[in-house]
């Protein structure tokens, strides 16, 4: 479980996070949604410590992340897997080397054990064995995201963060990524926080949803409740796509 309390963050005097309080549950896909520029990425990066918050507290379980020394934070970060918007795979390494990197850095496993783990993780994200020797530049965007997920879970982290995992992907590939994140979350019972503005993802995997607008929490709920929420800003966000207005109307009329 990850909990944030009264988070404030500003850049050059402009408030980006304004008193954010939320709880993200274990074994569920927790989504942070909102329009571009609403503060989603800043919130996610603040939770993992890539941005220092101005005030407020962040808890991993019962551990206060904001009160930790840099050494303690480094240790805690080994429990975190993160999938960045662009994948952030290391260009100079092959697919297999990317996934092996955390194993090389933080474990004392033998080469065989490492290879078994790499195979398991890449199989789990449906990456074929012959792709392992390719460099990130030689594979598609969807595959890069899947490799990034494999790298993020290779150390069995209890926390998984995904920043816009579907950006730049076609709807079909995006659904594959969503299903993968959802599957991994339930299978390994981890706390997953996904940052997205993709309504398809919301309806696909939104166990718990936090809607933020202009740096403030506007609404919390789940994928069933979101269609009937009374919040005007949320309605504008959700029903910007007419497909979901239709879906709500159909559900209301029992179709």
């Amino acid at each position: 479980m990850v909990r944030v309390e009264n988070l404030y963050k500003s850049f050059d005097g402009k408030t980006v996070l304004n008193n954010i309080t939320a709880e993200f549950s274990q074994g569920q896909t927790n989504l942070i949604i909102g329009k571009s520029g609403s503060g989603k990425t800043v919130l996610l990066k603040s939770i993992v410590g890539l941005h220092e918050v101005d005030s407020g507290r962040i808890f991993y379980g019962e551990r206060d992340f904001t009160g930790m020394s840099s050494r303690e934070r480094k240790l805690l970060r080994r429990e975190i897997g993160m999938v960045f918007q662009g994948g952030a795979l290391f260009d100079s390494l092959t697919v297999a080397e990317n996934v092996r990197f955390p194993l090389d850095m933080f474990t004392t496993q033998t080469a065989t054990e490492k290879q078994k783990r790499i195979d398991f993780c890449l199989d789990r994200v449906n990456i074929a064995r012959d792709v392992q020797r390719l460099s990130p530049a030689e594979i598609s965007g969807g595959m890069q995201k899947r490799v990034a997920i494999a790298r993020a879970i290779v150390l069995n982290p209890p926390y998984l963060f995904c920043d816009e995992p579907n950006s730049g992907l076609d709807p079909e590939t995006a659904k594959v990524i969503d299903t993968l994140i959802y599957g991994i979350t339930t299978e390994f019972n981890i706390t997953t926080i996904v940052n997205t503005h993709d309504m398809n993802s919301v309806m696909e995997i939104g166990d718990k949803i936090l809607f933020i607008s202009e740096g403030q929490v506007e609404w919390t709920g789940n994928k069933t409740e979101i269609l009937y929420a009374g919040n005007r800003k949320l309605q504008e966000f959700v029903f910007a796509n007419h497909q979901y207005r239709q879906l709500r109307d159909d559900k209301r009329s029992g179709i």
Partner: protein
């Protein structure tokens, strides 16, 4: 940002760079990769530039030192001292800034804007130490070798081109490069090159590591890195020359 702010952040970065590595074996492996990428791959450029400069200095001196009171062997002596004292350490460091420095700045800058550095931080890796320390160590390690290579190639360049063009005899040239030779100058210049190696790697690393934005900013950071490093090399050269010689 002000000059003082940059200076403070540069030293803070060096503090992060020279901290205890998480897994020494990984850093050692990276060190050898960097020695190859930044050092061994620069050998060709150093050889070509030094040979031509040595040859050109020899020709220029031969054509311009035409006073009968000036012995011909002074051409070899002047070429040798130019190479040993300044060209092969200082000027070569400035040239290497264009190759190695811009490479380091753009590589780190691209890693920053594509979130690869953030990715390392999230894993719990000290990204500054992992990415920058092997580069600095590699460049400091190879610079004295490149210096010696540069001096040798420059002297050979003069030896080949001078007599071939009829500008000076091989005997005069060889006599000149042996005349009043002070080995201490070679040691001191090689020592100077260690400091230049540190600047040529650490200053561009600073500019690359803190890039914000996209491709345009990476290019701009690379340019700033080269300009600032070259100025710092000259300033340090002035200081070291005053102290050491």
């Amino acid at each position: 940002m002000t000059f003082l702010a940059h200076t403070g952040r540069y030293f803070a970065l060096l503090g992060k760079v020279f901290s205890r590595p998480e897994r020494l074996r990984m850093y050692t492996a990276k060190l050898f990769t960097e020695i190859e990428s930044l050092g061994v791959n620069s050998v060709g450029l150093v050889m070509i530039l030094s040979s031509f400069i040595g040859a050109i200095i020899t020709l220029q001196l031969s054509y311009n030192l035409v006073n009968p009171l000036i012995p011909r062997y002074l051409v070899g002596l002047a070429n040798r001292d130019t190479l040993i004292l300044e060209f092969s350490c200082t000027i070569m460091a400035m040239i290497m800034t264009g190759k190695i420095g811009s490479n380091i700045a753009s590589e780190l800058g691209t890693m920053r804007v594509t979130e690869q550095i953030d990715s390392l931080e999230i894993m719990g890796v000290n990204s500054a130490c992992y990415l920058i320390m092997p580069k600095i160590t590699a460049v400091i390690f190879v610079f004295p070798f490149l210096y010696i290579l540069s001096v040798f190639c420059g002297l050979v360049g003069g030896l080949i081109v001078g007599p071939a063009m009829g500008a000076i005899s091989a005997a005069d040239y060889l006599g000149g490069i042996r005349y009043l030779f002070v080995p201490r100058f070679v040691y001191l210049s090689a020592f100077k090159s260690l400091f230049f190696g540190f600047l040529v790697s650490s200053v561009p690393a600073y500019f690359g590591y803190y890039v914000e934005g996209g491709a345009f900013e990476v290019g701009a950071a690379s340019t700033r890195a080269v300009i600032n490093t070259n100025i710092l090399v000259l300033v340090l050269d002035l200081i070291l020359t005053q102290i050491l010689f």
